[in-house]
């Protein structure tokens, strides 16, 4: 195998500003041509590890390091970030941050420009590499004319053009919808085969990455490496769940059905896994066991949209005759690709945009005359990124802002804020500065700041984006509690797990129309809708087919209900 291209030996690192080391005694070797997945919950040190490999540590973020890290047989700290970048190409998580050029072609050429490559040489190289990633028809496009997936392709091309020996992908799936994520995984695999470079992927969405073969998975927690093994070995243990990583759903289903998972059954992908007839029988029977699930009683209609039609000033026809009814206390998911109309629809509900046609009724009352502020007393809107909503330095002030702006007397403000903080589990932190909170806690602050206005409905844009399994569960369980308190929760999302596990009902937008309005299980087992909404079949569906379950959608529904019960008690 030759010598490793990346070699950590007893490596520890501590940021200058932190009291504790972030990485402890790391020993890890990655060989040329290998494909390695580094997984672990938030704060486990996986991003720090990535920064060590590309040289941001120690050159941009100074700190104290012990042990050795060799990249291409040279001690990394004795080189420079420029020298390292010749070996290691990094694709950052935020596609807008990495897209520096004004057009696709310029961005791909960026590294060449910086190396003073003559223009004559740049043109053909940009063209060649853009063809490899399938973006050659968009060379003249500006970043805001591209989708997230296309921007990521540009980032990949911008790195590939340098003929690097290691590709480092930092959470490549974080900002992509399921279908685009699947294509990204395929593209990474293709780059791997074409270039024979080593690939390092940092990601906690394990099942999605395993759509294509991976040589090794390195599992991290608390700055240490917990395990370093083949996917088949790792998936046969319980290590993932114990450490806050979601295992592939088909494996969870197999565990519920008491089917043993061993390395020999090749569990790394639903396509590789080997099930005996007896196993299949077991799974099939499990999937038809009766469960007593109480349907919560319907409590009446909260919001109705009738024939909503909306065209933006620039002529983009975003909503075409959309009608929808939302029940009181419902937990509803709205899915669809970018530009399908789901965000526009929520903007119309909140009054940010005025539809040209159609009526919105809230508890029977026509909303046309209500201002943004008046609507906000009934319907709260929570943005994806809490940092974009928080404007005060202290939790109390932030949550009180909406009430104070409405001229509510200060003593009433205090009681209502305290109440909202208690609901959101933030009461013990009430005097803290917001900067001391985690991302998930900040999210709760933004929700508390909305709840304090006593809305009857919440609209959340991608409530769990970028969250690991633990934080995801935390946020979603909290939203479920809210819905149990009769607050209607509408989530705009393309996270399929979220839809499956938490939303009874899902509405799918495509090209400005609603193309499906059904249970999440039915939608995620319907190939036609999945394709139009840029979703992806759940692996449970594949498992159901493999085991020849009679009704795959019922099998999936059974899994959801069973899982819910299992997690409640376990």
């Amino acid at each position: 195998m030759g010598s490793p291209i990346i070699q950590f030996e007893n490596f520890s690192f501590q940021y200058k500003s932190q009291a504790e080391p972030t990485l402890h005694n790391i020993n890890l070797s990655i060989y040329p041509g290998e494909k390695v997945l580094i997984a672990g919950p938030s704060g486990c040190g996986k991003s720090t590890l990535a920064s060590c490999i590309n040289g941001l540590i120690p050159f941009a973020y100074p700190g104290e390091q012990t042990g050795s890290l060799k990249i291409n047989n040279e001690e990394a700290k004795d080189t420079s970030i420029f020298q390292l970048s010749k070996t290691v190409g990094t694709v950052l998580q935020d596609p807008d941050g990495q897209f520096i050029g004004l057009t696709v072609a310029e961005d791909i050429a960026f590294v060449l420009e910086n190396a003073c490559t003559p223009q004559k040489e740049m043109l053909p190289r940009v063209k060649a590499v853009s063809e490899k990633v399938g973006i050659s028809h968009h060379l003249e496009h500006a970043p805001d004319e591209l989708s997230g997936g296309q921007k990521q392709r540009v980032s990949m091309a911008g790195v590939m053009i340098n003929d690097v020996q290691v590709f480092l992908f930092d959470e490549p799936l974080a900002n992509l919808d399921p279908a685009t994520g699947k294509q990204a995984v395929e593209l990474i695999d293709q780059i791997h085969q074409d270039t024979q470079a080593a690939i390092v992927i940092i990601e906690h969405r394990l099942e999605d990455v395993l759509w294509r073969n991976v040589d090794r998975i390195v599992l991290m927690r608390d700055g240490k490496i917990l395990s370093d093994s083949t996917p088949d070995d790792l998936l046969s243990t319980g290590l993932l769940l114990e450490n806050g990583i979601r295992e592939p759903l088909y494996l969870t289903a197999m565990r519920y059905a008491n089917v043993p998972i061993t390395p020999e059954t090749l569990p790394q992908s639903i396509r590789s896994i080997k099930l005996t007839e007896a196993d299949k029988e077991k799974i099939r029977t499990w999937g038809t066991q009766p469960l007593s699930v109480q349907e919560p009683p319907k409590e009446g209609v909260l919001l109705t949209a009738e024939n909503i039609d909306f065209t933006y000033e620039n002529g983009f026809h975003a909503l075409k005759n959309v009608s929808l009814t939302i029940e009181k206390g419902e937990l509803l998911a709205i899915a669809g690709t970018n530009g399908a109309g789901k965000s526009t629809f929520s903007k119309v509900i909140c009054g940010f945009e005025k539809p040209q046609k159609g009526t919105l009724r809230f508890k029977g009352q026509d909303m046309a005359t209500l201002s943004i502020k008046e609507r906000a007393d009934r319907i709260g809107y929570v943005m994806q990124n809490p940092n974009q909503m928080i404007s005060k330095s202290f939790i109390l002030d932030e949550v009180a802002l909406g009430l104070r702006l409405r001229g509510v007397p200060e003593n009433e403000v205090q009681t209502r804020v305290e109440e909202a903080l208690k609901i959101c589990g933030l009461y013990p932190f009430r005097k803290w500065p917001i900067s001391a909170l985690s991302f998930g806690q900040k999210k709760r602050v933004t929700i508390a700041a909305i709840l304090v206005l006593n809305p009857e409905m919440l609209i959340l844009d991608e409530p769990t984006a970028g969250q690991d399994f633990r934080h995801y569960t935390e946020i979603m369980e909290f939203l479920r509690e809210l819905s149990a308190m009769d607050i209607t929760v509408v989530m705009i999302t393309h996270d399929m797990h979220l839809m499956l596990e938490y939303a009874k009902r899902a509405v799918v937008f495509s090209q400005g129309q609603i193309i499906a309005d059904d249970t999440s299980a039915n939608i995620l087992t319907n190939p036609a809708i999945i394709q139009r909404a840029s979703l992806k079949e759940t692996s449970l569906y594949d498992l159901a087919l493999m085991c020849r379950a009679e009704a795959p959608n019922q099998f999936v529904q059974h899994f959801i209900d069973f899982d819910r019960e299992a997690r409640k008690h376990g």
Binding site: A142, A376, R406
Partner: protein, 274 residues
């Protein structure tokens, strides 16, 4: 998204010039028109600008919105000047030819009229050139142009970054302001000025913090892709200098020289027919 700079892709000799020579030419032109108060020269510059506009194949309809803006600004500025100093021209030209009196000190003199004509001509001589530059230069070429006329490539790249992230910052600003409006933040309406300024900070604070985050991410990305490694850098979008570019450079230079030379026969910046 909003189109910032109204680049209009057509084939014309002006389009074919490099951004650098267009930028230099525009700057010279603006400078030449700024310095002189020779009405004849300003008329010449205006006519020349109109001719160039024709050559560039940019149609009036393409820049209608901008033109209306300019017109309003032009009227407003002239009105203000007259309001404050109805006999400014008299002071400048040192003579007074009264045509008639409107009321009190508001008189109409030939000198004042000539002065206003000069002010108007300064606009008409320069603004078509600025528009021409915007409409015929690709934003991508802007940064490399600056670099070519002598600005360091690092600062030139700042300009490119500004152009790149204006739409993103705009979108972010828009999103934040909607979310804050829903919470009751109002920038217009009945609240007092101070209250509204205070409200504005609840939009600006998240915007600043996220801009700082963005600075961090973008500078990391640039560092990882070797920005600043060499003393120079090449530009993907740069265009080779052709004969016309040298001519354009020369013309720009000539305009300034003429503008300065006119001071001699005129005995100052003003051409005084009185």
């Amino acid at each position: 998204m909003v189109k910032l700079f109204n680049f209009i892709d057509r084939k014309s000799p002006i389009h074919a010039l490099t951004g650098a020579s267009k930028l230099a030419c525009m700057m010279c032109w603006v400078f030449a028109a700024m310095v002189t108060f020779d009405t004849r020269y300003l008329i010449f510059l205006t006519l020349a600008a109109v001719v160039l506009f024709k050559i560039s194949k940019i149609r009036l309809a393409d820049v209608k919105v901008l033109l209306i803006f300019t017109l309003v600004f032009l009227l407003l500025n002239n009105a203000l000047i007259y309001l404050f100093s109805p006999e400014h021209g008299v002071t400048i030209y040192g003579s007074r030819t009264l045509l008639f009196t409107i009321i009190g000190r508001y008189t109409i003199t030939s000198q004042q009229l000539l002065y206003h004509l000069n002010v108007v001509l300064k606009y008409t001589a320069t603004i078509p050139m600025v528009m021409l530059f915007i409409c015929t230069t690709q934003p991508s070429e802007f940064a490399s142009s600056l670099n070519h006329i002598g600005v360091s490539y690092r600062i030139s790249y700042s300009v490119s970054l500004a152009l790149r992230y204006i739409p993103d910052v705009m979108k972010e600003f828009h999103d934040i302001s909607l979310a804050q409006q829903a919470r009751g933040v109002e920038l217009s309406g009945k609240a007092g000025v101070f209250k509204r300024l205070k409200s504005a900070t609840s939009i600006l604070m998240p915007l600043i913090l996220s801009s700082l985050d963005r600075i961090e991410v973008v500078s990391n990305a640039m560092e990882l892709r070797c920005f600043g490694r060499e003393k120079n850098r090449t530009w993907y979008r740069a265009q080779p200098f052709l004969r016309n570019d040298y001519i354009a450079f020369f013309c720009g230079f000539l305009l300034i020289v003429i503008s300065l030379l006119l001071n001699i026969p005129n005995g100052g910046r003003y051409w005084n027919p009185f």
